[in-house]
Subunit: 339 residues, 2 copies
């Protein structure tokens, strides 16, 4: 069983989406003590959350952990860390640290979630900086991109840590034997890229990882690599560019397919195929980015997530609780630093 | 009239694609002395190019400028610069420098094209580093992204120069009055990003540009900004990610639409709409990246460009010759450095 605590106040559509996601999981769910079952809690302002849970008819099945403060999406992470000690993220992270819950899921301010989680949970041994890992759809599979935005100006050493953390995640949580790890660069040749990337590539070749070398932005969506490592600035730009292109294409697809009668009829006939396409490229299907390298499980949901996407983020946390990611990572980091 | 010299050996499909593109332009074209007409030349190994032009029936209409050497796609730019003084790129750049031709178009090794062009043509006054500018399709318009990969580890000062160069390009070559310039970052707030980006944002606010602040990867495809400025590593990753997503979506669209009889029939009916969609997102439609900041016109075509895409790259050069970009840029850089 996994015990997942949800931030009741993070994201653009809180607490509505949070409550609906809880409702959905409970209506689909197994009974509380069955294997693979989930115990759910929500952390935040009881005066808002309890009536909402009541209205949704799930008040008795979701524990409310009180937290008086909320953190705005635009608030400075450093300020939130120092001044909002009773925020839902602070309280949630402490609950995970103290073993009352197995994982925290939040759609809130990413920087604050990372800063507070790092401060309260600390990092795993030998990890300097945790990273946000984002799953990306690819032809015949998926690719884990990290760091997706927690760290700007990552050093070579940080990139190596991300490589170990990402590889361990794909092994422990996704059951891969020997994940292919690539380094995001602007060409496959050794001479390409910044000094930081060149040094990282040379070191990665020596490590006990299935390192496939430099990869490019196009490789993210191909079956050539499973884990792509990069600085958080670069990773965040790549992710948001991806989101932008997908929206742009869907916008144009819609516009074109409603343009003429024959296009409209065609769309009607191809409806199921287009639906499957949409679900294949829908960011909601890939929502839930684990913060890797922390001494505790924290999963970030997209701030604009809808109910289905938020359910998926909770399921990412559930899977991580059920895996032995912590042990994998600690051992791999330990092996590496001993060599 | 513009006189455009084409590298006969650059790219994956040279000289085939080059010859076909020349053929296409000549068959569509105006007579040589008409306004807006193009005079075409090709630079490279005559023993290869002359027979190919003969076979295409355009030998008398395209001048061949002999160059004995070719540069491989994987060759180190520094080595190519030093050791291949008689390469098609070297000879082509010298022809432009000496005023025999107005512009050089090449689908060859990007790094070598940039290094050799910079060495031979030099930069415009006050420009430290030229940049590759890439046009991106956007909803109701297009966005110019620079630098798309010429420079890694750009300083704040370089980013400011890119901003001026990009803004001037959109004015001179695209006829925009007051292009909106954005700085690519991982959030719109001032506190986001690296120190380099933060300093650049503060300076851009003080400059005589229509600076709209930080933008994100998603903005590239929206009608919120016309010129997006970033370091070449970041820009290249963004571009290739964009290419990867578009291919991924088209792959899935094809697969889904050929999956069932009703989907196939629907596709048939919606054929024209899907064709228009494809042309809207086809990288070929946006081929031709000017190298900005050089004291001479050089345009880079995608190495994998097909004939239609290559024609477009030549047209980008043609338009730049016809514009007064050089004067715009020199004046804007001068105004800025005097302040």
């Amino acid at each position: 069983m996994s015990r997942i605590l949800i931030d009741g106040h993070g994201g653009d559509n809180a607490p509505q989406v949070v409550i609906e996601a809880l409702q959905k999981i409970l209506s689909d769910g197994k009974s509380p003590n069955e294997e693979g079952s989930i115990e759910l809690g929500v952390v935040g302002q009881p005066e808002i959350l309890t009536p909402a849970l009541n209205a949704a008819g799930i008040a008795g099945r979701v524990e409310v952990i009180p937290a008086a403060q909320t953190i705005d999406m635009c608030e400075s992470p450093a300020m939130a860390l120092r001044r909002k000690k009773d925020s839902s993220i602070h309280v949630g992270a402490r609950q995970v640290r103290d073993g009352h819950w197995d994982a925290l899921v939040s759609a809130g301010n990413t920087g604050a979630l990372m800063a507070i989680s790092k401060f309260i949970l600390k990092t795993l041994p030998d990890v300097d900086r945790p990273a946000i890992a984002s799953m990306i759809p690819a032809i015949d599979g998926q690719t884990l991109l990290l760091d997706a935005g927690a760290n700007v100006d990552s050093s070579s050493e940080h990139l190596l840590q991300f490589a170990v953390m990402g590889s361990c995640y794909m092994q422990a949580a996704e059951g891969m034997d020997s994940p292919r790890v690539g380094l995001l660069n602007i060409g496959s040749e050794d001479i390409k890229g910044t000094d930081v990337v060149k040094v990282a590539a040379a070191e990665l070749r020596e490590m006990d990882l299935n390192f496939v070398g430099n990869v490019e932005g196009t490789d993210l969506f191909l079956d050539t690599v499973d884990v792509v490592v990069c600085d958080g600035f670069v990773g965040n730009v790549a992710l948001k560019t991806m989101e932008g292109v997908a929206r742009f294409i869907i916008h144009n697809l819609r516009r074109e397919l409603s343009g003429s009668l024959s296009a409209k009829m065609g769309t009607l006939l191809a409806r199921d195929a287009l639906k499957r396409l949409k679900s294949k490229i829908d960011p909601a299907e890939y929502n839930g980015a684990p913060l890797l390298g922390l001494n505790g499980i924290v999963v970030k949901s997209h701030g604009g997530a809808n109910t289905r996407a938020f359910v998926r983020a909770i399921m990412v946390a559930h899977r991580e609780v059920d895996s032995n990611l912590r042990e994998y990572t600690v051992e791999a980091m330990n092996q590496w630093t001993e060599n």
